[in-house]
Amino acid sequence: DAGVTQSPTHLIKTRGQQVTLRCSPKSGHDTVSWYQQALGQGPQFIFQYYEEEERQRGNFPDRFSGHQFPNYSSELNVNALLLGDSALYLCASSTWAGLAVTNEQFFGPGTRLTVL
């Protein structure tokens, strides 16, 4: 049973560029959440997707956008990259239980983004 997978593992970009990160959820899961983990910090919630729609969002600017596909996989897009966007980007999958309830989330290994 495949767990959550993310690609690429590492990525280096320069300021102003755009980046797309990808996530495949654990088999049987239909909900994908994205987190940003800066060095020395805990993960911070970016947004969550279910049924191809953004269901909830954390305190991140509109430069951060996402998409979910019919097969439940998801992409995170970041435009106009800043140095401060350098971080580990984690994807977590779960089964949908409504907005006010969250089933256990399973995290992928993350994509390490470096912005120069």
Binding site: V4, S33, G40, Q41, G42, P43, Q44, F45, Q48, R55, Q56, G58, L90, C91, A92, L99, A100, V101, T102, E104, Q105, F107, G108, P109, G110
Partner: protein, 114 residues
């Protein structure tokens, strides 16, 4: 202001020693989770505590939820090098509109030396 304060930030000990790490807040929570994150990996859920005063054991790891449900501790007995990692506490925080998001502390980075 951090919703969850974890201490210590860093801890380096020798194999066989005991240790306790803490997760504190001024807010009351219906539940609290502990995760371990190893280098190059995502966080893995260790336990969820729900009831004030609850104690849960996972092999050599003992988790306690404070009576007032504002804080929690993780105690490791006879630490081993395999316990090395970042220990994160997390809670579900209610957003406007009735949805919730998972909020993490900054974590305690534990190194167990052989």
């Amino acid at each position: 202001t951090q919703l969850l304060e974890q201490s210590p930030q860093f801890l380096s000990i020798q194999e066989g020693e005991n240790l306790t790490v803490y997760c504190n807040s001024s807010s009351v929570f219906s539940s609290l989770q502990w995760y371990r994150q190893e280098p190059g990996e995502g966080p893995v859920l260790l336990v969820t505590v729900v009831t004030g005063g609850e104690v849960k054991k996972l092999k050599r790891l003992t988790f306690q939820f404070g009576d007032a449900r504002k804080d929690s501790s993780l105690h490791i007995t006879a630490a081993q090098p395999g316990d090395t990692g970042l220990y994160l506490c997390a809670v579900y925080y209610l957003l406007q509109g009735g949805s919730e998001k998972l909020v993490f502390g900054k974590g305690t980075k534990l190194t167990v030396n052989p």
